[in-house]
């Protein structure tokens, strides 16, 4: 299948009072047309900054995309003018944020927020834009859409606001949606509704999705391929089935083992990843996961690069990847 988005050696940095932070440190990954890809990792691993870099929403002067390419349908987004970029944002690539309340404008009606993009990007006349807005609200399962157009975000519950965000993202028929923790702020039963809705819409409309999350369960239900990030780098890359069946990086393995699971007998004790999350201003010179790793060897003082572990495209950035596969099933 054709590559819709190709990120090559992207590096995004932030100047902070305690030093330069390499939030995204030379990562490469891609999304095929119509596919759902996940970026997984914990806070500060660079997953949200990756999405913001694609949208060119990194705020200068502190934040800077230093190098790399972001090829979208063959064009490098980093070389577009601000005006050209505006025609991509919201039109071809849309974004869904974690906090629907803070990303909706509280003083504009639902209708205005939906029609604005349609009028600007698609040049639609107000009556046509309004008809499209009603269609969109119905599509994301909001009842009584005509009446909703004149309401404000505070009239909506959390789940409805997230549906509204999805409607806004879909408004201009984008080919890619970046969803940054789309269900984290929602309750479990509402999370299930929103995930079903997103999966259904992406299949029906053929939209590709990049889903950014820390929730391994959401990824398992949802993604075709997965990139696991740690301290600004991708440390493992595989199809979802392969990654969960045969994790090859100690961090991925540790994450999978540390969460209690409802489908397994209760364990007497949880098996956490020891130590603290990395401080991005003071990373070790070798592998960033080294201080917390149970599998460390001398060679880890030298940073490992992402390397293939099989012929099917599974990659891991770990010198010991082969041994991890041999000796440590996830369900031990």
């Amino acid at each position: 299948m054709a590559k819709l988005l190709q990120v090559n050696q992207l590096r995004t940095t932030f100047a902070t009072s305690t030093g330069l932070v390499r939030a995204v440190d030379g990562v490469s990954w891609d999304v095929d047309e119509g596919e759902t890809v996940a970026l997984v990792g914990e806070s500060g691993c660079g997953k949200s900054v990756s999405a913001l870099s694609i949208m060119r929403l990194i705020t200068p002067p502190a934040g800077r995309i230093e190098s790399g390419e972001i090829l979208f349908k063959g064009r490098d987004l980093l070389r577009l003018s601000e005006e050209e970029m505006r025609a991509v944002r919201g039109r071809e690539i849309a974004m869904i944020f974690q906090e629907p309340m803070t990303s909706l404008n509280p003083v504009l009606t639902i209708g205005r927020q939906l029609t604005e993009g349609i009028e600007i990007h698609l040049g639609a006349q107000p009556p046509a834009a309004r008809a499209r807005a009603i269609e969109l609200l119905a599509m994301v399962g909001i009842s009584d859409p005509e009446r909703r157009l004149s309401q404000y975000p505070h009239h909506f519950s959390g789940g409805m606001r997230q549906r509204m965000m999805i409607a806004m993202a879909l408004a201009c028929n984008p080919s890619l949606i970046l969803a940054d923790e789309p269900t984290t702020a929602l309750d479990v039963t509402i999370q299930a509704q929103i995930l079903e809705l997103m999966r259904d819409l992406s299949r029906r409309l053929g939209v590709a999705m990049l889903i950014i999350t820390h929730n391994l369960g959401v990824v398992a239900r949802y993604a075709d391929r997965v990139n696991v990030m740690y301290a600004g780098r991708i440390i493992e890359q595989a199809t979802a089935t392969e990654l969960y069946a045969h994790p090859r990086h100690p961090y991925t393995l540790g994450l999978l083992r540390s969460v209690p699971r409802l489908d397994e007998p209760r364990r007497a004790r949880l098996d956490p990843i020891e130590g603290q999350p990395p401080d991005l201003t003071r990373l070790p010179t070798g592998c960033a996961f080294l201080p917390r790793c149970k599998y460390r060897v001398e060679r880890c003082a030298e940073a490992p690069q992402l390397a293939p572990v099989d012929a099917a495209g599974h990659q891991a950035a770990c010198w010991e990847a082969a041994n991890i596969a041999a000796g440590s099933p996830v369900t031990a």
Partner: protein, 324 residues
């Protein structure tokens, strides 16, 4: 059966809602609407439910951070829901709380050492300064922090370390009950397991009793001996951990369990999900009859008319459902 440490009966907490020109009361939020349960010494009771179900308000009523509208709360045999303020302050030493957000619950201008020392000083638990300093170092070690953390400020610690400080501060009071209100949900996945293990170690070491309020059903199953499920201010099911997760009796519990995604794509693809329609109704105007009936996949006519009582269906396993 071990001794009952805390007994909650028919607990009700209503919040008046006022509006209009003269701020007249226009409605009532029924945050907690007739909740009863027992907490035995040394056990962990999980309290689960989605936002707005009343689980946090229940915890706050027990701590008397909210004054209950009606109902009784007996702690070590003593009725505390009507206790005068002064007496309550003394009693609160015996019940401590750990909050969800370890950052906003620590004073940013105090060092970790001062934060842990303060309750020891205020409650005169350790009156002499040198002994107090030793106690602070001991508490730091108990929660897995290093001596050098004592002089640091909250912003210099990671989220997991800050939650350890919150735990040390609660332990300083030598409580018998700790109310843990979403203690791990703000933490990174790799750190959550560390804190859960720490809470379990401390419980074993000091014989603590926990009321563990959370929305993450996997974590609750791991840590709890028994579990209370709440929906819209009411208890819908109470059971020991094993029965609740193996044989949930209430349709809401079943839906909640099926909504939790499992980190295994092959299993996920085969699993049947009960996706509930609609959203939780407003506690300002809860539905008549069973509060869950508008979203319930198996509701019958009776559910809209008659409030189901919490009944013991099997020994130790109660559910509030006409069909259970």
């Amino acid at each position: 059966m071990s001794e009952t440490l805390l007994e909650v009966r028919d607990l009700v907490k209503h919040f008046p809602v006022s509006g209009g020109l003269l701020s007249k009361q226009t409605g009532t939020v029924r945050a907690v609407d007739g909740v009863s349960f027992d907490l035995h010494r040394g056990e962990t009771l999980g309290l689960v439910g989605e936002s707005g179900c009343g689980k946090t308000t229940t915890g706050r009523c027990i701590l008397r951070l909210e004054r209950p509208t009606s109902g009784t709360i007996r702690f070590q045999g003593e009725e505390i829901s009507t206790l005068p303020h002064q007496a309550m302050l003394k009693l609160r030493r015996r019940m401590q709380v750990i909050f969800q957000d370890p950052y906003s619950s620590l004073n940013p201008r105090m060092t970790i050492g001062q934060i842990i020392e303060e309750p020891l000083k205020v409650h005169a638990i350790v009156p002499e300064a040198p002994a107090r300093a030793a106690r602070v170092r001991d508490l730091l070690a108990q929660v897995g922090l290093l001596p050098q953390h004592e002089a640091r400020y909250p912003h210099q610690l990671s989220g997991g370390q800050r939650q350890r400080v919150g735990i040390a501060r609660a332990l300083a009071m030598e409580p018998s009950l700790i109310i843990c209100d979403e203690p791990v949900s703000a933490l990174d996945v790799s750190i959550q397991a560390q804190i859960v293990n720490l809470l379990e170690d401390l419980q074993a070491r000091f014989g603590l009793t926990y009321l563990f309020i959370a929305h993450d059903l996997s974590v609750v199953r791991h840590i709890s001996d028994r579990v209370v499920v709440m929906y819209l201010g009411k208890v819908v099911e109470i059971a020991d951990r094993t029965s609740l997760y193996a044989e949930p009796l209430h349709p809401y519990t079943r839906a909640l369990l099926s909504a939790v995604p499992i980190p295994d794509p092959k299993l996920e693809a085969k699993r049947e999900h009960i996706v509930l329609r609609g959203e939780v109704p407003s506690p300002l105007n809860p539905p008549p009859g069973c509060v869950f009936h508008p979203r319930c996949p198996v509701a019958i006519d009776r559910c809209a008319a008659e409030v189901p009582a919490l009944r013991e269906i099997r020994p130790g396993h109660c559910a509030a459902c006409h069909l259970a």
